[in-house]
């Protein structure tokens, strides 16, 4: 009987406290700086091309095998604008299979891929297989959000 009454007092006291939950779409809890959402590709602003050379290391180490990458000869290298001999041609991530483990970031030799804060992919027509421009945009938006300069002016290459 005493225990039951103690419990009742406890719930009574809690009832008057401020709720800890928030109304999600109207109000979002802040993400931590290290938050790992889905991966995005980084744009090399100095040259105007992605850092990614399409070397497929991430693709091979991806535990869910959700990536597909191909590589091409870099036209800018022929023109003398870039030192990269090869450049990414297509880059697709099936983010319905991506587990946000960041092992692609870890194995990347060129620091070309990063974990963005993008995580809300729900929608009537969710785009679960972003291609190269979308992946670049994810990273760009992410950097814009965090106060870094978006690379919009050099986007005309793609």
């Amino acid at each position: 009987m005493i225990g039951v009454l103690k419990g009742l007092v406890q719930t009574w006291k809690t009832h008057w406290r401020k709720p800890v939950t928030v109304q999600y779409p109207d109000e979002r809890l802040p993400l931590q700086p290290r938050y790992m959402g889905f991966p995005g590709l980084i744009w090399d602003q100095a040259i105007g091309e992605p850092f990614c050379t399409g070397c497929q290391v991430c693709m091979r180490y991806c535990p869910t095998q959700c990536m597909y990458v191909t590589m091409q000869d870099n036209p800018k290298q022929a023109a003398g604008e870039s030192k990269r001999r090869k450049i990414v041609e297509t880059f697709t991530i099936d983010i319905s299979r991506c587990i946000s483990c960041a092992i692609c970031v870890e194995v990347c030799n060129f620091d070309a891929i990063e974990m963005t804060h993008a995580h809300e992919r729900a929608g009537y027509y969710p785009d679960v297989v972003p291609d190269l421009p979308q992946l670049l945009k994810m990273s760009e938006d992410f950097r814009a959000q965090r106060g870094q300069k978006p690379a919009r002016e050099t986007r005309d290459v793609l």
Binding site: M1, I2, G3, V4, K6, G7, Q10, T11, T14, V20, L31, Q32, P33, R34, Y35, M36, Y61, P63, I99, S100, C101, A102, I103, E106, V107, M115
Partner: protein
Amino acid sequence: MITERRLDTVDMHINVGPQHPATHGVFRMVLRVDGERIVDCVPYIGYLHRGFEKLAENEEFQEVIIHLDRTDYIAQFNNEFCYLMAVEKLLGVKPPERAEYARIILAELNRIVSHLMFYGAFGGDAGAITPFLYAFRERERLQRLFESVSGARLMHFYFRAGGLKEDLPEGFLEEVRRILPVLKQGIDECDTLLTENEVFLSRTVGIGAISAQEAIDYGCTGPILRACGVREDVRRSDPYSLYPTLDFDVPVGKKGDTFDRYLVRVQEMRESIRIVEQCLDRIPEGPFRTPIPRYPHYRVDPGEVYVHTENPRGDYGIYLISRGGVQPFRVKLRSPCFCNLMALPAMLRDAYVADAVMVLGSLDIVLGEVDR
């Protein structure tokens, strides 16, 4: 004149699971019941089998950590801790002191998270709806800390051979220090709500009791074994990492029943807070990782090692065989729930259907770890 008539009764088979609110995942047990009383119980597992051991043999030592997070998905840091100790033993490296303390802090906080999860789910099994929300309120504070450390809320992938992925974020230790008193109060509130409640006591005391001898025979470990009065904790009896230098108690129960298991876990949360407090005082500045050559794709010397640690659910063991190279040859996971679950039919002798739910809840099974 009295005529004696025999009434023929038939035992009924009740299929609890694979999808049932009481099974905490996809687990199935077939109960043979005589009215409300259980005559027999046959557990079936394997609904969440993902072939962890096969996957691990085909991936690098580093990538296996990802799958380990997904075995016991409520105590991820503890799993990574265990596996990396095995890898580090084979590699012959020792993590720096800062990394050791960081690992202990995170593992102990994760133990609290796991026990809070148990507390909430157990209350739900008993039919109380509020404990779950109380537990998650407290759990959320720690989850946010974990997010700030590793970037993920559940699948952390943060420990690395030789240390950590990156240093603890700035202000993390102060945040932990600030949260601990709040957490203590939260645990006290949870305690008030359930531990002394007469209804809860009548549902748990004396239910699903198992003797110490039987528990050892079945290979039960962790809170299940300690509830039987066996003062066994891998952190004390087969110490690893820096646990020998830390001061903490190993709470034990008396009767080995459902209530003792509950009580052991609640007390363990307080002990974990004590450990974290000590670690916070001692954690030094310095490097967070001992460099290993060819960092993500390191080669491991041939050899084999069995390492076990004290996970929230019990003794988590990893048997790791390396034949040299970048991939493990064989990884066997000795998951505590897998062994604890074996004792379920013994615990359900002469119990009621409602008790089956409570006993299963008191085992605190995580099916990702049972089925692997």
